[in-house]
């Protein structure tokens, strides 16, 4: 089992969701986060006061999957999120020790899908 965490541009969320659904990946958790990568932060100006290095709004996706789904999930995220510009984001893949479905108390591979 793996846990995929992806940081993507907020305006690509809809495309990423559609690509994941297309790859038969239906379960995900989405949160709004702040951060920036190599493109740096933004500059904002309030009554002439310049605020540099402000963190950018990003979307964080978390998807728990079985091993045979890793490739298609990563591919779907890339298909949805890639624009070719700085700031497209990153995908992290973790080993996942255990997964328990609360409703049925199922464990492991059966609990994920």
């Amino acid at each position: 089992m793996k846990l995929i965490v992806a940081i993507i541009q907020p305006f690509r969320l809809e495309e990423v969701k559609q690509a994941l659904y297309g790859a038969d990946v239906q379960l995900m958790t989405v949160s709004e986060v702040l951060g920036h990568g190599r493109q740096g932060g933004v500059t904002e100006i309030y009554r002439g006061s310049r605020e540099t290095g402000n963190l950018l709004r990003k979307i964080r996706l978390e998807i728990a999957i079985n091993d045979d789904f890793v490739d298609r999930t990563v591919k779907a995220i890339i298909t949805g999120a890639k624009t070719g510009e700085l700031g497209d984001g990153k995908i992290f893949v973790y080993n996942l020790e255990e997964c328990i479905r609360i409703r049925t108390e199922e464990r492991g591979q059966h609990a994920i899908g």
């Binding site: 904002e44 100006i45 009554r47 002439g48 402000n54």
Partner: protein
């Protein structure tokens, strides 16, 4: 004989000014601070309405506007304590453009009450995010007596030293604007800077824009109500007010665009407030050309003050109460001495039928009076506030602790928060 028409308009104007304090100023200021401090700003405005409303009917109005002379030219006496002796059918002893149609005396009392309410609320912008609530409360009480009431008496009461000299202050360029601005400066210097490294960004500029629009709306009562009549002079003041506000907002947004690459929402609304401030003393005295000039001047000069000068001086006038109200108040009060057009006020028989004329209309003496009142208001506001702050500092203390400042004033001063993250 009370004019019911005039009475209706001035009562409505009083309500409009109340609306400027709460919620307009609370929203305008509340949006500019961090979300952990928004309630503290709203509460400071609200508590001014609570406290000053009471003090005003108990003794404030009497000291400010009664014909008695506790200190000649500066302070009235206690004859109208608890509005004693003022009957609902009494006509107001104060009239401006329609001496034959006074409003009810009680209307004048509550109209003036709202000016006294909003002024310390404006000052609170300079104290944002670091002052103890108890200290602000003490300040608002002491300051009303030490600074506001004497200044209102001097500028507007029957025996006031500047009223006697023919000061042109239609709706409070000295009493409200210069006063709040220079009090804010003194308070900001006494308080010191906020400790957080990043004072910005504002947590909700939509509040700020809504608040500014409500201020503009309420200012029609502030200025067009100050002739104490529903007549043509009210219309003239209304047009001047709208014109100056538009000019101030436009020039600030254009300067932003030119110098900072983008026209900002905060810039546009700040410039509009500067335009509203500058036209306050002038509203009933200048023609529309004068209003345009004043609005543009206020927008441009306040821009320079807030954007470049403030950073060089390094004081923390958090929400620019000084940079907008103080600076535009001075421009407006002096500008009235230059631009007052006698043909605006003459048809109402004002100033013995001659109307009020400024320097550019052949009356240099009027500019001298404006200058004298400006300097007096600056000095009284600045040094009066310093004195009040010294008293508060050595009794209650001024600032919250470093830890409380970091946690935020909403929780530490009021045990509440404005927003929940998870229900």
């Amino acid at each position: 004989m009370i004019s019911n028409a005039n009475n209706a308009w001035v009562l409505l104007s009083a309500a409009l000014i109340m609306f400027m304090t709460v919620p307009a100023l609370g929203l305008f200021y509340g949006g500019l601070v961090k979300k952990k401090n928004v309630l503290s700003l709203m509460m400071q405005s609200f508590v001014c309405l609570l406290v000053v409303s009471i003090l005003w009917v108990v003794v404030g109005y009497s000291l400010a506007f009664s014909p008695g002379e506790l200190i000649p030219g500066i302070l009235g006496d206690f004859r109208w304590t608890l509005l004693n002796g003022i009957s609902p059918i009494d006509p107001s002893p104060y009239t401006v453009s329609d001496p034959k149609g006074p409003v009810s005396h009680l209307t004048f009392v509550i109209f003036q009450c709202m000016f006294a309410v909003i002024t310390p609320a404006v000052v609170s912008g300079a104290f944002a995010e670091r002052m103890k609530f108890s200290a602000f409360l003490a300040f608002s009480v002491l300051w009303l007596f030490v600074v506001y009431i004497p200044l209102a008496h001097m500028a507007w009461s029957i025996h006031g030293v500047f009223a006697q000299k023919g000061l042109m202050d239609f709706a409070g360029g000295t009493v409200v604007e210069i006063n709040s601005g220079f009090s804010a400066l003194a308070g900001a210097l006494m308080l010191g800077k906020r400790r957080n490294l990043r004072a910005l960004p504002p947590h909700n500029l939509t509040y700020t824009q809504i608040g500014a629009a409500m201020l503009w709306f309420g200012w029609f009562g502030f200025n067009a109500g100050s002739g104490l009549a529903a007549d043509g002079l009210a219309s003239s003041a209304f047009v001047s007010t709208n014109t100056a506000a538009a000019a101030g907002g436009l020039i600030w947004a254009l300067l932003d665009w030119l110098l900072q690459k983008r026209p900002t929402v905060l810039g546009a609304v700040t410039g509009s407030v500067a335009g509203l401030v500058v036209i306050t003393p002038a509203a009933g005295f200048v023609n529309v050309g004068g209003a345009l000039v004043l609005g543009l001047a206020a927008g441009a000069v306040c821009y320079w003050f807030v954007v470049s000068l403030k950073a060089k001086f390094g004081y923390d006038d958090s929400l620019d109460a000084f940079g907008v109200h103080g600076v535009a108040g001075v421009i407006g009060t002096l500008g009235t001495g230059l631009l007052a057009a006698p043909f605006i006020t003459a048809p109402f028989g004002m100033n013995g039928g001659k109307g009020f004329a400024g320097f550019f209309y052949g009356n240099p003496a009027s500019f001298a009076v404006q200058l004298e009142a400006t300097v007096t208001a600056m000095a009284l506001a600045f040094f009066g506030t310093l004195a009040v702050f010294v008293v508060v500092r050595y009794t209650i203390g001024l600032r919250v602790s470093e830890k409380e400042e970091a946690i935020g004033l909403d929780i530490t001063q009021h045990n509440e928060k404005a927003y929940t993250l998870i229900e």
